[in-house]
Symmetry: D2
C-alpha cells in the first residue's frame, strides 16, 4: 500500500475525532508527504448573508488543510497563528483546498493553502497560511 | 430607544440571515458605535480533536465580531483579510468575543477582536483582526 | 536602580549590536516587564515615494519594538512571523511605537504594537503584531 | 522594446524616488505583467544582532517587491497590510525576492512574495504577502 493511501486513511480517522470537522464535512481527497487536498460540497449552512461561503468557514477549511499537511510531516500539531485572504466571493458546487508545508520544524511548521472550485481549478478564491506547533512540544 | 439597543436588534436580524451564523449560535450581547460583544456557549460540535474550541471556529467568531463592529460604522461589508492568533487552548463554558473598529474608511475598515471566557475575562484565549471592504463599494 | 531603568539600558546595549537598528536610529524611551516604548525622529531616508514613512520601515519599527517587549520577559528571541496594518499615511516629526507582550511562553511569545506620533498620541498610524521564538529554544 | 524591459526601467525610476529604497539598494532584476524579481547584495548594515538579515529588512524587501508587482498591473498603490514569515535565518551573499500579483482589483490588489538566496534558489528563507490599495482610489 502506498504512503499516500496511508495518509488519507490516517487523516480521515483523525478528522473523524474532531466534532467540528464532522459537521464541516471535509473529505480528504489526496495526501502525501507535505501535501493534502480536501474537498467540501456546498450546502447552505456554510453561507454568509449573500449566500457565499462564509469567511469563517473559508478560514476553517484552509486551517484544517494546513493542519493535515503538517500532520504528514510532524504528526499532530496545534495552530498558533493563521491568516486568510478572501480574493473573490467564494461560490462553487464543490470547493477544493490544497495545502502544503513550506518548512517543517520541531518548534514551528509553516504551511500555505489555497481555495478553488472543482469546476475552475485555476481561479483562486482564497489563500491562507497557518503556523503550527507540534503537539508533542 | 438608545442607539446601542438599536444595533443589537439590527445585528441579530443580519446575523439571522447568515446560515452559518445560525448554526454557530452567536448571541449579540452588546453593540455601540464601533464596538460589539458576542457570546457563544460551548457545545461539542465546536471542538477539535482534543475538545478545545476548533481554531476554525475561533477565526469564524473573531471575524464575525469584526464584521459586526464594522457594520455599526459603515453598514454591510465583506472581509478581505483576517488573521487569528491562538494564545492558549480555548476552553470555556461561555466564550466572549469583543471587537472594535480601529479605523473606518470608505475603502477599508480595520478592526480588532479578542476572545476570552465569561468566567475569566482578563485571560486572553485568542486575538485577531479583520480588514473589511464596505459592500457598497 | 529600578527594573525599568535596567531594561532601558539593556535594550540600548542590545539594539546597538544590531547594525540595522543603529542605522534606523530608534531610541528606547521606556521599558518595563512586558512593555516598551520606542521613538524615532523623522528623516528623509525613511520615506517612500510620497514622503510618508515607508511601510517597510513601519514594519521594522513595530517588529523591533515587539522583539524588545519580548526581551523583557524571555530574553533574546527571533521573529518568526509578523504583520503590519497601515491605517493612515504615517507622517510625524517624531514617531512613537508602543509594544506589549500578550502572552509569553517557552516556545512562542505573542506581542502587539502600535505606531503613533508624539504630537497626536491618540491617532493610530499603524498597528502590528509579532510572534517570536525564544533564542535559547 | 519589450514590455518587460519597460517595466524594469519604470520601476527603477520609481524606486529611485523613494529615499528608503535608495538606502536599501534593491536592484530590479526582472519585471513583467504581474511579476517582479529584485536583488539585494548583503552588507552589514542590513543585519540584526546575530548578523542575519534583519526581520524588518526582510519585510521591507517583500513589501517593496509586492508593491512593484502591483505597479505592473494597476500603477502606483499603497500597502495597507502585509505579513512576513521568517522560515530560516536569512543569510546570503545576494538575496533574491520574487513577487507576483494573485488578484488585481480597483479597490484592492493581493500579492505574494518569497525570499531566497542567489546561490540556493530552491531554499525559501522567508515568504510574505501584501494587500495594496491603488493610489488613485
Amino acid at each position: 500500500m502506498s504512503e499516500s493511501v496511508d495518509f488519507v486513511a490516517q487523516l480521515k480517522s483523525i478528522s473523524g475525532r474532531a466534532e467540528f470537522n464532522n459537521w464541516l464535512g471535509v473529505e480528504v481527497a489526496a495526501a502525501s508527504v507535505g501535501e493534502v487536498e480536501l474537498r467540501l460540497p456546498w450546502r447552505k449552512e456554510l453561507g454568509q448573508y449573500s449566500g457565499f461561503l462564509h469567511a469563517g468557514v473559508i478560514g476553517a477549511l484552509l486551517d484544517t488543510a494546513c493542519g493535515f499537511a503538517a500532520y504528514t510531516m510532524v504528526g499532530p500539531s496545534l495552530a498558533s497563528q493563521y491568516s486568510v485572504k478572501c480574493l473573490r466571493p467564494a461560490v462553487a458546487q464543490v470547493f477544493v483546498v490544497k495545502a502544503r508545508v513550506l518548512k517543517p520544524g520541531k518548534q514551528q511548521v509553516f504551511t500555505q493553502a489555497e481555495l478553488t472550485s472543482l469546476d475552475e481549478p485555476g481561479k483562486l478564491l482564497a489563500v491562507g497560511d497557518t503556523l503550527l506547533v507540534p503537539a508533542g512540544m
